[in-house]
Amino acid sequence: MTLFVQQLLIGIGNGVIYASVALALVLIYRTTGILNFAQGEMALVTTYVLWQLTDSGVPIGAAVPLAVVVGFVMGALIERVIVRRVEESSALTVVIVTIGMFLAANSIAQFFFGSDSKIVPRSIPDKATTIADVKITLQPIALAGLLVLECLVLWLLLQRTKLGLALRAVSSNPDSSRLVGISTGTMLMAGWAIAAALGALGGAAAVSGGEALDASLMQRLLVFAFAAAAIGGFDSPLGAVVGGIIVGVANAMTTTYLADANNGVDWLKGITLVVPFGLIALVLLFRPTGLFGRRVVERV
């Protein structure tokens, strides 16, 4: 029983990281209709910035918010300089541009920050408590708290602010937005900026427990973040969060029970990826646009 709880917490801890990146993916998709392949690598760049800040003396407590701000500015710049030119083009053209950014971002990050693994000081202290003889580390709890905070702030921003209203208006009907005086360009830039900031938080979360930072940090998560967004339904931020937790927990449980070398299902041994993708297929079979995704009504 204690193993189950521990694994559950680990699953939630990882799930939060997947959810943060998935949230960024969903936000960009909702406001701009673009699937941003480079979301993870943009978060890698901000995490390298986080490392550079801590390496040159900035305490971790200040470095994380700074990295988020850098992410915000970077997101806006990327939209303004790179993405805007192809926003009118076909979905495939935009996918190729984001793939181009995906390849370039990782390579340029290594060019500036080097290829060796880095050490980022823990942003979540390595404390643990035992409740009913179950040893619970602080990290998953803190990360879950961060995610709830993230969702709350995002919800307030989208539902209770003028910027949020404008963002949702642009995502709903860009032409009408311009007719009521909303500058779609600025809103698209804001969408990318906020998403990049969320991605930066995801990157910081990924190294919050002293985990190592190297060029593959976010590429490893890419598949899980996409899985999270797909399960949750691509146009619902809440779906991304729920999807992230589901994928995180599913992974932990598979590793522990299904793919375990000595007692797991034989043919599954060592194959940890089968469950998250089994899950995607299952969910999408019943809800083709994800758990919370809007059913796309095609006007004939």
């Binding site: 076909s90 190729i96 181009g100 370039a104 899985a227």
Partner: protein
């Protein structure tokens, strides 16, 4: 329209001649790169049917490429088959696997489908590590009969048969011609399929599934067929890759990269065009192999750039972005636009008639 037809035929003929001539003139390594272009083109031709004509985006065809490669490699390595007989097996196997993979496509569209295929690409390497017993305990399968430089007395060796000795005196040339021949067969099949009823059905289902259904086209069958067909051609490309590199291997990064290259080739070439994937395949292969050398050869490139090979993917990524800026609808699409503009400028008194439009 008749003049375009002749021009296209002429260009096709010249291209074929150049491709036939490549291994005679260029050395083994340069020929390998052209063969890599042909392999990418073969897979892109298949993917273009699915993504270009039928509008279903897949970023997982690296997995089908892998299934084809492993099927050929295992048949040759463990059962002593020669290369050509494995192709029919690959076709049948991939047709079934492609159809199975197509089922989610019936329920799921666009973005979600792309992610299901991404899952395929992520899962495939793990499956090979678990079930394939390759060289040295790894999942690398290396049929001895295609070792790039082997020839002569080793039984079942894939080397130049006697009748072809007049044209071909080296093994890598013979393998290049087998890959080229396969690609040409694939090109003919795809162009004819797409030009006929099947092509129109693909586009109908892409543009308006419901309307297509009303007109008697069965969208479910068309989608499955498109998936299955694209999987077969990706598998054949995989078999050709084994013939050329002598090994079948699957790592997460490699399978993901293959899938991306096929998609890039289709889009860069020009989606839903017949020649687009072929051009796209060569562009991706050449950029992937030689772009860094070209960039470093630019005079005045500072050595803090040319000394750092870590930038190789960056050059490729930036090149992709610039290509999409310049030619959003691909090389063929762009070419057509330029040709149309030239033609309009050359027609006498080309003032556009006054058209009434709301």
């Amino acid at each position: 329209m008749r003049r375009d037809h002749f021009v296209a035929g002429a260009i096709g003929a010249v291209a074929l001649v150049v491709l036939l001539w490549v291994p005679q003139y260029f050395d083994a390594d340069q020929t390998r790169v052209v063969a890599q272009g042909i392999i990418l083109a073969t897979a892109a031709l298949g993917l273009n049917v699915l993504t270009g004509y039928n509008g279903q985006i897949s970023i997982g065809h690296g997995a089908f490429f892998g299934v084809g490669a492993y099927t050929t490699a295992i048949l040759m390595n463990d059962h002593g088959w020669r290369w050509l007989p494995t192709i029919p097996v690959v076709i049948v196997l991939l047709a079934v696997v492609g159809a199975l993979a197509g089922f989610p496509a019936l329920r799921v569209k666009g973005l979600y489908l792309a992610l299901v295929t991404l899952g395929l690409a992520a899962l495939f390497p793990d499956l090979t590590k678990r079930f394939v017993h390759g060289v040295g305990g790894t999942n690398v399968v290396q049929p001895p009969t295609v070792s790039p430089l082997l020839r002569g007395e080793v039984p079942g060796i894939v080397s130049t048969p006697k009748w072809a000795e007049r044209f071909v005196d080296m093994d890598d040339q013979w393998r290049y011609y087998m890959i080229l021949a396969t690609a040409i067969v694939v090109f003919v099949i795809v162009t004819n399929l797409v030009a006929g009823r099947f092509g129109r059905a693909l586009v109908a289902v892409r543009d308006h599934e419901t309307a297509a259904a009303v007109l008697g086209v069965n969208p479910r069958r068309i989608k499955i067929a498109a998936f299955s067909l694209s999987a077969v051609f990706a598998g054949i490309a995989g078999s050709c890759a084994v013939l050329q590199s002598g090994t079948a291997n699957a790592e997460a990064t490699e399978v993901f990269q293959q899938s991306i290259y096929f998609l890039i080739a289709v889009v860069v070439g020009g989606t839903a065009t017949r020649v687009g994937p072929v051009i796209g395949g060569f562009v991706v292969a050449f950029l992937q192999e030689w772009l860094t050398d070209w960039v470093n050869a630019i005079p005045g490139i500072p050595d803090w750039v040319s000394e750092r090979p870590v930038l190789t993917p960056a050059f490729f990524g930036i090149a992709l972005i610039l290509l999409m800026y310049g030619l959003p609808d691909g090389l063929v699409g762009g070419g057509r636009r330029i040709a149309a503009r030239l033609r309009r400028r050359s027609t006498p008194g080309g003032t556009t008639p006054r058209t009434a439009a709301t």
